[in-house]
């Protein structure tokens, strides 16, 4: 197969998935029906507004804005909900019907399959947007809205549509039953619907202030670029995660994701620091470290579900060279490597957060930024005091429960799939949080105050402590649990580390085929 390069442009071929999906979409009543309804709504709303206006004596100076405010939610609904649900639904159905199996045995890669689904969704989005765009531009002629505002809002709506689409593709790739997918999909659908509301509110705000006058200022580009950056990072993650989810289990599924998250970690550190220094506020770093900790807790669970068995495909790519192999251990698919990678990133996050908040790094950078001007001194006021301690406690608890889950899985249920370890790691803190409170309930002693009391070992209690000094006890408890977890898993971890070796060929018996008889027909 020829890969598209400028020199062979004559033989370029579109992604097969795009061709098939678009053919299906053209014939689908869902798409053509929605397009007709969409057009009809746009047309009748425009006519309705114009007719309504004709009954007024004084002309409405903001008629264009009024119509636009009606168009945008309709377009958002299609872009954020309908197209993602359509594309995601098709993929889910194909996976459930086993049709995807047939794709896996072609020479199409998982990446091309996901890219094809995404591109098809983008084409459909462009189709709906191109239908809507003339109506939206027309609103400019009716006054009340400037063209830059129309353009900017369309771009924002388009980008959010693509993000929703990628999220839907990711959800449909989850290895879950129809019911479970519906369970996950419903809140996701709710979130997408709420995005329509947010988009409408943002549009109202932008139209009120006018985008045209702010296009040349940092007040516009600062938040816009920040949101674009966050959106791109999220999009990239969802895209790679979807590819990993449909890749065969024998593939090195963790490598691109861990590589991406590590890269994103480094990039977001820099962005958070620059943002914090330019705003002279530590909040961007706080937000970054909170979000990163959340992602790493999730990464712990995913690592636990990966399992120990490394396929021949992975093992034959393990580097021979020691340091390279050491690095590969952290990035390649396996539970042990995943845990090590997560712990290293978490430690780096904690150290960096501590340096910024308590270690004076932020003051130093701020002083550097202001070229020797006065600084605000060490940041140690109120809310920030226990921040690093709080984050590290959450992570340590999560690590401890994952280690305990892994031990229980290996010791008592080794025949079950590895996801059992992750499920145990979720069930343990949930049980520990629920059972004592259930006992209190039956003793008639359950109260809000009781929930806020010190409940060591309860990860949720960290979020609802009455007394902040409890955090020290929680941290010590989490450390103790982690120590137990490490002791229980140390031998296994060392064995995994030692087993992380390049493939040594086995000799298998060669069986000659029977004598070369032709078919008797």
């Amino acid at each position: 197969m020829n890969f598209p390069t400028p020199s062979n442009w004559r033989t370029w071929e579109p992604n097969p998935i795009v061709v098939k999906e678009l053919r299906q979409a053209v014939r689908s009543w869902a798409v053509t029906g929605m397009l007709m309804v969409f057009l009809a709504v746009l047309f009748f709303v425009t006519v309705g507004f114009l007719l309504g206006q004709s009954f007024h004596i004084s002309p409405n100076q903001a008629l264009g804005r009024d119509i636009f405010q009606f168009f945008l939610p309709v377009l958002s609904l299609v872009g954020f909900v309908f197209i993602p649900v359509y594309v995601g639904g098709r993929l889910t159905a194909e996976r459930l019907e086993g049709n995807v199996d047939m794709l896996y045995i072609t020479t199409l890669s998982a990446a091309r399959i996901i890219r094809g689904k995404l591109l098809c969704g983008i084409y459909l989005t462009v189709l709906f947007f191109s239908v809507c765009a003339p109506f939206m531009v027309f609103t400019n002629l009716l006054r009340g809205i400037d063209l830059p505002t129309v353009f900017v809002l369309l771009v924002i709506a388009f980008l959010l549509s693509i993000l929703s689409l990628q999220a839907a593709i990711f959800l449909s790739c989850l290895p879950a039953s129809k019911g479970l997918k519906l369970l996950v999909g419903l809140p996701a659908g709710g979130f997408m619907m709420s995005l329509v509301g947010m988009m409408t509110a943002m549009a109202h705000e932008l139209m009120r202030e006018g985008v045209g006058s702010r296009l040349g200022t940092w007040n516009f580009w600062g938040p816009a670029l920040s949101l674009l950056f966050i959106g791109l990072l999220l999009f990239g993650f969802l895209h790679l995660a979807a590819i990993a989810l449909i890749s065969p289990p024998s593939a090195n599924r963790a490598l691109p994701l861990r590589g991406y998250v590590t890269g994103a970690w480094l990039l977001t550190v820099v962005v958070a620091v620059i943002w914090a220094v330019t705003e002279a506020s530590p909040w961007p770093v706080l937000a970054w470290s909170s979000f990163t900790t959340g992602v790493l807790v999730l990464a712990l669970l995913i690592s636990a579900a990966e399992g120990d068995d490394q396929s021949v495909r992975i093992r034959r790519t393990i580097p021979e060279f020691g340091p390279k192999r050491g690095l590969a251990f952290f990035l390649y698919s396996s539970t042990a490597g995943g845990l090590a990678w997560t712990v290293v990133l978490a430690a780096a996050t904690m150290v960096f957060t501590w340096l910024v908040l308590d270690g004076g790094l932020f003051d130093w950078l701020l002083a550097l930024w202001r070229a020797g001007g006065t600084t605000s001194g060490r940041i140690s006021h109120g809310d920030l005091d226990n921040f690093t301690r709080f984050l590290s406690t959450i992570f340590l608890y999560a690590l401890a429960y994952v280690l305990l889950g892994l031990f229980i899985y290996r010791r008592f249920q080794p025949h079950r799939p590895p996801i059992f370890a992750a499920m145990t790691a979720v069930a343990l803190p949930a049980l520990w949080a629920i059972v004592p409170n259930l006992v209190l309930f039956f003793l008639n002693k359950l109260s809000w105050d009781a929930l806020q009391e010190r409940q060591l070992g309860n990860i949720f209690n960290v979020f609802a402590m009455k007394d902040r000094s409890f955090i020290v006890d929680h941290q010590l408890c989490a450390l103790a649990l982690v120590t137990i977890g490490v002791v229980l898993n140390l031998r296994w971890f060392l064995a995994q580390r030692a087993a992380f070796q390049p493939l040594r060929r086995e000799t298998l018996p060669v069986v000659p085929p029977p004598s070369h008889d032709r078919a008797p027909v």
């Binding site: 098939k20 794709l103 045995i105 072609t106 199409l108 021949v312 799939p417 085929p513 070369h516 027909v521």
Partner: protein
């Protein structure tokens, strides 16, 4: 050597679906893969088609390991699963065209391949029909076409005749017969053993995840039924013949069933001739003397124990 299955194991949790399968088949071979439900046939076929990774062991296709390089191995494999295509809003031509694209065929080469497969599988009259609207037999033809679109050396067919009417079965058998003459290595599973007998020259018999027999039909036949079976009809008293036969050397067993005498005989093919001439020499009026040919069904019944998992 096209396909070598070497020490193949596949476990799903505690269940051992495939336990140490070792067999191979070559160009021009049509191998029947027989066994009761749950014997490990589909799992083995999915491993060969690179859809499952073996727990242990390996499958080499033209020397390429399905464990190490599935992306290369699958280029040589066409797989027809036991479930038929269920795409919505896709016509037969679009379906085949899509898979041709998916296998990386481009431009004129793709159009040629799609045209050839459409002609070979006899679906030219239904190219614009939607897949969902096709009969099972037609869907099976389209699926076979999909598996052939990249002209693979190895064809894996999982229960291709299941649910087909007699005509569709005959047509499918004819298609497979043509494919066998095209030097392809074919592994086909089916519960309809009489059909396999007509097209297979090799057989793999499995039960409860264990491989019981594999090899050419003649070899397996020899192994599973070491004695030759004959049926004799004589004019006159059959009981005298039974008495005589039981005293004849190399005759293992003889009994009268419905006017015929059934016997099992040790030795080579010539032993039958010698017996016949001896009987005629002793004055028996032999009206019929025929050797009963064992088929796959007999082999299967002899070899398996009827267990499922």
């Amino acid at each position: 050597m096209k396909v070598q299955v070497r020490g193949l194991h596949k476990r799903f949790g505690k269940t051992v679906a495939v336990d140490n399968f070792t067999f191979s088949f070559d160009n021009g071979h049509v191998f029947g893969f027989v066994g009761p439900n749950g014997a490990g046939k589909t799992t083995t076929m999915r491993v060969i088609a690179t859809l499952e990774e073996p727990t242990e062991g390996d499958v080499l296709i033209n020397g390429i390991s399905v464990r190490e390089e599935p992306e290369y191995a699958r280029r040589s494999v066409g797989y027809v699963p036991d479930s038929l295509p269920a795409h919505n809003d896709v016509t037969v031509h679009e379906y085949l065209d899509f898979y041709a694209r998916a296998y990386g065929l481009q431009g004129a080469k793709r159009r040629e391949a799609v045209g050839a497969v459409e002609e070979f599988t006899g679906v030219t009259g239904i190219l614009d029909k939607h897949l969902k609207a096709l009969s099972k037999g037609m869907k099976q033809r389209v699926t076979l076409g999909r598996a052939l679109i990249h002209n693979p050396d190895v064809l894996i067919l999982d229960e291709p005749a299941a649910g087909l009417d007699p005509r569709a079965r005959v047509e499918l058998r004819e298609l497979l017969a043509v494919l066998a003459t095209q030097n392809k290595a074919i592994l086909i599973s089916s519960h309809i053993l009489t059909e396999l007998t007509e097209i297979c020259n090799g057989v793999v018999i499995v039960e409860r995840g264990k491989l019981l027999e594999s090899g050419t039909v003649a070899d397996v036949l020899k192994k599973s039924t070491p004695h030759r079976a004959f049926a004799i009809r004589v004019l006159g008293e059959a009981s005298a013949l039974v008495k005589e036969l039981l005293q004849t050397p190399h005759v293992i067993n003889a009994r009268e069933v419905g006017g015929e005498v059934l016997l099992e005989l040790e030795g080579e093919e010539s032993a039958g001739c010698e017996l016949l001439s001896a009987l005629v020499g002793k004055g028996f009026k032999v009206a019929e003397f025929k050797q009963s040919k064992a088929n796959l069904e007999d082999i299967f019944m002899n070899v398996t124990k009827g267990g499922v998992q």
